[in-house]
């Protein structure tokens, strides 16, 4: 009880509160240095010092008052902070498709508690309906809170759990599945799911938001609308990621789950398809496919479910002057697979050759990908590459480093026969390796070029 009554307060501040018999969530009148301040005592951050009390004033502003200055605290009344979220009865339409929305964490739908300032998930269908009623124009939405992890903490337990939940939802007859996920590692999860759930009959869309949904300019509502529309109506039966396209709010993009990557730490249009073009442009009232080569929606419930995972796989980012001990340490610690993001066409320095040989000799499989993200691994062109291949390192075509890592985890969970491993790794299952790189697969425009600036100026608000 005490823990929450004085949440975050310690030392001098805690003694002060106790001495006046007031706790967190009390509205009080504080006398400090000749001033009278009326406000609500708020919880304090655990990492802050013990010499201040945090108060929310009637105007809504928060301030911190130094404990030393306080001469008295008079209790006025206790403030109830009920987290009653508005719920509205959800409409059901038997003619509309049934879509499942699974949450694994992240704040794709949440509310800000006015009193505490804490962000509270708002995830029941009733809450979603109050938040974005438009979702129910497309389908009947059922929700499930599967996990509540920060996406950087996600691991095999969650991955296997998500895959199993998706599998059973497909079997249960849902016509589309949306998975709410933190954006930091969404592309890892989308890649892995593409390998575990092959040939799905329905769309499986991962969605997140870069700006928490309690903010007015949050991308959450739009992302939700776009992803639910895809899940309910589109015929793109693949594992995909849906996020905003441009800086304006004009449309979202649907990216194939094995070719998508988060490319900016905070920008809303952070996800991009690398080495190819996206699947579709999505708006609230339109899905415009950009290509024809995707798995189409089917009425049957067949799909290839291959649940497997090996934890002892490492993804390492090569850097000049990398020493062999890094690789040796992996081998000595029982790692079964290593994916290297090499420089250029897939290169590493000579120093680590012996360590790589030692690894492959110890039946550790080593695959090469490129740090540059775009382009193929091509290890014949330079002697370096040929030497590295001779050590047993396998070129990973144009798999993204993160995707190769997830695929290797999955493959090593299924078999330990080297030839089989190599064959499965290098056989594309869901677009993680493409046969060709079209000319519009690498389009990174440089800012500041006059022609680019002119063109941007013309199209930007409609782009």
């Amino acid at each position: 009880m005490e823990a929450t009554e004085y949440k975050g307060y310690k030392g001098k501040a805690l003694s002060l509160l106790k001495s006046f018999g007031v706790s967190v969530w009390s509205e009080v009148k504080i006398k400090a240095n000749g001033n009278e301040i009326v406000g609500i005592i708020l919880p304090r951050s655990e990492i802050a010092d013990d010499s201040h009390i945090v108060v929310k004033l009637r105007s809504g502003y928060n301030i911190g008052i130094s404990v030393e200055k306080i001469t008295s605290i008079e209790f006025i009344e206790r403030v109830e902070h009920h987290q009653v979220l508005q719920k509205q009865e959800v409409p059901f339409d038997p003619d509309k498709p049934n879509v499942k929305l699974i949450s694994t964490g992240g704040t794709i739908a949440s509310r800000m508690n006015y009193r505490t300032g804490a962000v509270v998930p708002a995830f029941e269908p009733e809450e979603l309906y109050a938040f974005v009623p438009k979702l129910f124009d497309y389908c009947n939405l059922t929700t499930q809170k599967l996990y509540s992890v920060l996406s950087e903490d996600i691991g095999p337990e969650e991955w296997m759990g998500i895959a199993s939940a998706v599998a059973s939802d497909i079997e249960a007859g849902y016509e589309g599945i949306v998975i709410g996920h933190g954006t930091d590692t969404m592309h890892y999860t989308s890649a892995l799911l593409s390998f575990i759930i092959q040939n799905p009959p329905i769309p499986i869309v991962l969605v997140g938001s870069q700006r928490s949904s309690d903010r007015p300019a949050s991308d959450a509502p739009l992302n939700l609308i776009h992803s639910v529309k895809v899940a309910a109506e589109s015929d793109i039966a693949e594992v995909s990621v849906c996020a905003l396209g441009p800086t304006s709010d004009n449309y979202g993009l649907l990216h194939r789950g094995t070719r998508v990557r988060k490319m900016h730490s905070s920008h809303r249009s952070t996800f991009r398809t690398i080495g190819d073009i996206p699947l579709a442009i999505v708006k609230a009232d339109e899905i415009r496919t950009l290509r024809k080569d995707y798995n189409k929606r089917r009425k049957d419930r067949q799909f290839n479910f291959q649940l497997a995972f090996e934890e002892k796989v490492a993804l390492i980012y090569y850097y000049p002057n990398m020493k062999p001990d890094i690789i040796d340490a992996l081998v000595d610690n029982g790692y079964r697979g290593i994916v290297i993001a090499g420089t250029g066409l897939g290169h590493v320095n000579r120093q680590i050759y012996p360590a790589l040989k030692r690894a492959t000799d110890s039946r550790v499989v080593v695959f090469m990908t490129v740090q540059t993200l775009w382009g193929y691994v091509q290890m014949y062109v330079y002697e370096t590459g040929r030497n590295i291949m001779e050590l047993g390192v396998v070129p990973g075509a144009n798999m993204l480093p993160e995707v190769a890592y997830m695929k290797l985890c999955w493959v090593l969970g299924r078999t330990n026969k080297p030839e089989e491993i190599k064959e499965i790794m290098l056989t594309p299952i869901a677009g993680e390796i493409t046969e060709r790189e079209p000319i519009d697969a690498y389009l990174i425009f440089q800012g500041g070029i006059p022609e680019i600036d002119d063109w941007l100026k013309q199209i930007s608000k409609n782009f």
């Binding site: 001033n35 201040h52 809504g60 928060n62 509310r111 905070s266």
Partner: protein, 641 residues
Amino acid sequence: MFKDFGEITENDYRAIGFRAGLEIHQQLDTRQKLFCRCPAPHPPYDDFFHIEIARTLRPALSELGEIDPSILMEFKSQKKIIYKINRDTICTYELDQSPPFEINQDALDIAIYYCLKFNAKIVDEIYVCRKYHLDGSIPSGYQRTAMIGLQGFYEFKGKKIHFPEITLEEDAAREISDKYHIREYFTDRLGIPLIEIVTEPAFTSPQEVKEFAEAIRNEFLATGEVRKGSGTLRMDLNISINGSERCEIKGVDKISKIPILGYNEALRQWNLLRLRDALHTRNITPENFKATVYDLHNVLKHTFFYPIQQAIKNNGEVYCIKLPNWAGFLKWPTQRYTTFAQEISERVKVIACLTDYPNIIVSDIIDNTISREEIDKTKKFIGATSNDGFVIVWGPPEDVQIAIEEIKNRAYEATIGVPPESRRALPEGTTAFERVLPGPQRMYPDTDLPHINISKSRVERLRLRLKESYSDRVKWCEAFGFPPSAIKRICTSDRYLLIKELVEKFRIHPNFIVRIFLEYLPFLEKRGLKTKVLTNEQIRTIFAMYSKGEILRTGVFTAIEFAMRGECDKIPSHLRPATNDELEQAYNQAVEFLSQNRIYHNEKRAEILTGYIMRMLRGRVEGKTVKEFVAQKLEKENGSN
């Protein structure tokens, strides 16, 4: 009866219970913006932009299930917002694509400084909060703001005007247009640090507000830590009278307009209260308010009234709202030269986005719109008698439905009194509806930034920076005999402290100060030289030389010009006072020059000789001295002839 603007007095305002408070937003003079490292541009802003981006803002509904009324309004109007962006002053932070950077410490210093100046208590731990604005003026949908000082005050005309809260916040974008469902903004101003001071409703007349605003502005100007120029100081006026709700007038950027704005708002509120009473007399009350809606499409589908004709052509609709027993009330006067119909029309414009005027027709003011015949047909169709009022509205179907709701709302509100509104100040001194007054501020803590501790030593350092108040400066000027017309400019000058030093330490005469700082420097500016180049150190040195007699009074002018041209090496070498011999020599040269040129008017000789010598000995001899010298010389010559 409400007097004319020219005749109303402070007592009249007091009699109707006029109360006003002021909210002052002053931009601070920092190099960079408040939460990012973009340069903070100075006005005047140009209209250049590199790209435009389009956004829509969604209201984040309250977790208590309540919908803040101003948010509901914005949601109804469904605006698409276009931001015009200049890459040199906007980064990903302003576009809500990156989290905030650490708060600008210079801005924080200036904010603390002003809190000290206005006797406010500095907050020990500062928390940045978010204040939600959904009109589009901030791309992220909220303004980051922090409370810096509490319970300050300012002495004005013998009373203490209280400033309960002084905050530091980021400025919003500048609206350029708002038509139909598109609102456009320039973003140059976005993110510039602002200090906001809110007063209690302590003023009892618009004139008093104006004088107070001037006093505060002079205090700001006197300290030099604020930006100067148009739009850098903006004020909101909160006004109520006995029996009315508080209304806010936003965007007052000329202090001189405060009296007329205050007058019109008081008049509007007073008129609305009388309208309510008149409605009640006719038994139209909130409880039995009625309004019925009719589809006029068939009645007016062939009208020649252009707006309706166009609407119908574009598949729009036209509706009529009948207000039983309302005859005469729709033309009830509100502000000067406007009527109640205007109140309805503004709601329709802002909320239903029917932005082309005229957007309604009211029964009381129906001449020159639809034809006589159509009026009669309409009345018959809706069953209206001569006691009834009606409002006709037209436009795209969705917008018209919203308009109908707003027309009914506004008419209903008239039966209650003065609805609480946020109104926009217009150039001619009237106001127009801008939005419904927001409910209790939606303020949330900003979890993207840590709190800031303000150390005692920082406060003390800033306290030492406190300069005299503006009123103290005025007293000083008066004591030293500055001409009254020059006092304000001297007191608000950037160089005030320097001037003080010159007068007190070097004993420079105030008239000379005025001549140099208020006349000569602007004169040189007009000729293309930049006063900014002239440092205080340079000015001080020049005057020091003058006070020691190293240069003459006329030399001061020339020295200043040299300094502004970057020719400081000529000071004082080129300005040594001329000796008598040099004067003689110059005279002879002048005579030589004259003899080589034919002069037709003999009386001009003196003038020409004087001019020649002045040019030769520029800055080294007083004009009076030369004139006398030449006159003497010529007299001698004439005498000897």
